[in-house]
Each structure stands twice: as C-alpha cells, then as structure tokens.
C-alpha cells in the first residue's frame, strides 16, 4: 500500500519533470569570458544567457574546478558610489536574455586553483534554480580587455 503510493508519487514527479525541459537545456550561453587579474586576485566572469524555452528560468550561481569559490554578484553605482551585492537568483524570462557584463551582473571568481592566464579556457557549470547545470567554456582575457573580443594587439588568425 505504502509502496504503491510512493510509486504513484514518483511516477507523478517524473511526469511533471517531463513536461518542462530542464533549465540548462533551454538556455544558450555566448560571449563567455573572464577578466584575469594578476596573482590570486578575484576575477570577473561574464556571459550572455538566452532562454530559448517557453518557461522562465533563473541562474543561481556557478561552480568550477578552477576556482574554489564562485559567487553571483551585481555592481551598481548610486549617488556616485560603486558597490557590489550578492545575488541569490537572476531570472531569465521565457524567450528573453540577460547579459552578465562589466559594471553589472557578474560571477566573482575567487581563489584560483592554479594561475589562469589570458588565452586559457576555463569551464564553469552554470547552476539553475531547478537544479540543472550547463557547462560553458569561458575564455580568459587580459586585465585591460573591454569585452570578449581578442585585443587588437593579439594575433589575427582568421
């Protein structure tokens, strides 16, 4: 009896899960880059996330073997003061997108396991509110980069 009820519950749950795709499956990531700072200073991680699904999703953070701690942050300037605040969850509307970019939302990457150098690729697992995660390769850029494009001084291989 008890088992039957548990079975029904599990069946119901997996059915519900089948209706909506996992958040990670409906989010497309692009322009993923890291601004590398010297030594073990915390770095900023940036990425554009597009929700191609019919359901809103929310980014809750990220994990990486390259950094011991990763936090979702938001920078703002108010009354001439700049400050950073932790963000629990960043909603991405259905068929909408959000930009994690300099001076706004970003991943604060702390305690690198090994030196991350410009040109390196660092994989991060972006975490969503439904528990799913999306692996994304971030390109490490020099400290004075303004975006994810290679600086003018770098090679032009294509």
């Amino acid at each position: 009896m008890k088992h039957a009820r548990l079975f029904a519950l599990l069946a119901g749950l997996s059915l519900a899960a089948g209706v909506h795709a996992a958040a990670a499956d409906q989010v497309h990531a692009s322009h993923a880059w890291i601004r590398v700072l010297p030594g073990t200073l915390p770095a900023g991680g940036y990425v554009t996330l597009e929700n191609r699904g019919d359901q809103p999703v929310a980014l809750t953070g990220a994990r990486s073997t390259a950094y011991a701690e990763v936090m979702l942050h938001h920078s703002s300037t108010q009354g001439g003061m700049s400050r950073m605040a932790m963000v629990e969850s960043l909603p991405i509307p259905a068929h909408g997108s959000v930009v994690l970019g300099p001076g706004g939302y970003h991943l604060m990457l702390m305690k690198p396991a090994a030196a991350v150098l410009p040109g390196n690729r660092v994989q991060m697992q972006l975490q969503f509110d439904d528990g799913s995660s999306l692996p994304v390769d971030f390109v490490a850029r020099p400290a004075n980069a303004l975006g994810d494009e290679a600086p003018a001084s770098a090679h032009s291989g294509h």
Binding site: P38, P42, S75, R83, G103, N144, L146
Partner: protein
C-alpha cells in the same frame, strides 16, 4: 544614514566654501566638457607609498596631468573596468599620454601592499601608478576630495567588500583640480579635457 538631500546640501555648502577659499588660485579657464572643478577643491597633496615601494608625495607628480582614482584590487568588476577604460583613453591620447599619470589610490591599504598594487596597475597601463599607505594617510586624501568609502563584511573568511566613490579627479600640471569624470560621462569628453590640459605644457 543621512538623507540624500542632507548630503547634497552639505556638498553644496562645501563647494561654496571652496569657491571662496580657492578664489586666489588663478588657473587659466579652459572650455572643459566635464564638470569643471577649477577653484572648487584644494591642490593635490598626499604622502603615500608607490607600487615600487617608495615614499611619494603629490609634488613628485607636478608637471604631469594627474587622474586620481580611488579603488581596491579585490574589486573584480568595476575597478578593472574603469582601469581598462582609462587604458583606452591613454591610447587615444597617443604620445601626449606621456604627460599624464593615472594614480590608483587603494582604499584597502591593509590588503593592497605595494607588491600587489604593482602587478595590478601594470596589467592595465604603463602610465598607471598604484598608491597605498597608512590607513590614516589614505583617509586624509579621500576626505580632501570629499570622496568616501565604506567597508562591509561579506561573511566568509573575514573577507569584506568596499563601497567607494566611482569618480575620477583630474589635476593640471600644477596640481590644481580641474575636472571630475564620472561613469555617466562620455569617454571622449575626458579625452577632450585631458588634451586641453596636456596642451598647457610644462609648468613654469
């Protein structure tokens, strides 16, 4: 927490007082595009330690156009963005940039040793110099320009975050404050005003 209105009133009062006090300075008026600070704030003055671990004072930078910026190296987003933008400004100035210096003053002198600052500023631009020193000496400079910063514990490992003024103060070759650049201003206006100041030539 003071209200914005109280703070604005205090700022205005200080500006008026500054105008009266600094009326005798007599810097040549220039057609600036940014907020003109001429005569509104005291001359550049500080005693700090450079990222090359040498004691330095404001007089060491007389003859250079100075961009003064308060920040800290454990700021992964806004400070590097500002420094990267200033690097672009320096590139736009071309050879004239040699007459300018970016002074990055750490408002986190406990963590920002000269060695940490050295690697930091050099990652951005060769015209940038990192300054640190006794907390009291840094605070004196912050207060001198009515800038502000606060420290907020962020929980884990005794780490803390610093809120800080995002403005850049620009001084002429004689150490007089001339314009204020904020993130809301256009980068080309900063380039324009720096060119005006760099065209002024060496001080007599």
């Amino acid at each position: 927490m003071k209200s914005l209105r109280t703070r604005l009133a205090a700022l205005l009062a200080l500006l008026v007082a500054g105008t009266l006090l600094a009326g005798c300075h007599g810097a040549t008026p220039l057609p600036f595009r940014l907020t003109d600070l001429t005569g509104h704030m005291p001359q550049l003055e500080f005693n700090l330690t450079s990222d090359e671990n040498k004691p330095v004072s404001a007089t060491d930078y007389r003859g250079k156009v100075v961009l003064l910026f308060f920040g800290y190296t454990h700021c992964p987003d806004v400070c590097p963005l500002t420094m990267a933008q200033l690097h672009v400004v320096m590139k736009k100035l071309g050879a004239q940039a040699d007459g300018a210096r970016i002074l990055f003053v750490s408002v986190d002198p406990t963590r920002d040793t000269p060695a940490v600052l050295h690697g930091y500023v050099n990652a951005f631009d060769k015209h940038a110099i990192g300054l640190t020193g006794a907390p009291r000496a840094v605070e004196a400079l912050v207060k001198r320009y009515r800038s502000a910063f606060t420290r907020e514990p962020s929980g884990k490992d005794g780490n803390y975050e610093v809120s800080h003024s995002s403005a850049i103060y620009v001084f002429d070759r004689d150490g007089n404050p001339r314009v204020l650049y904020t993130p809301a201003d256009k980068q080309d206006d900063l380039v324009h005003d720096l060119q005006l100041l760099l065209d002024q030539g060496e001080p007599t």
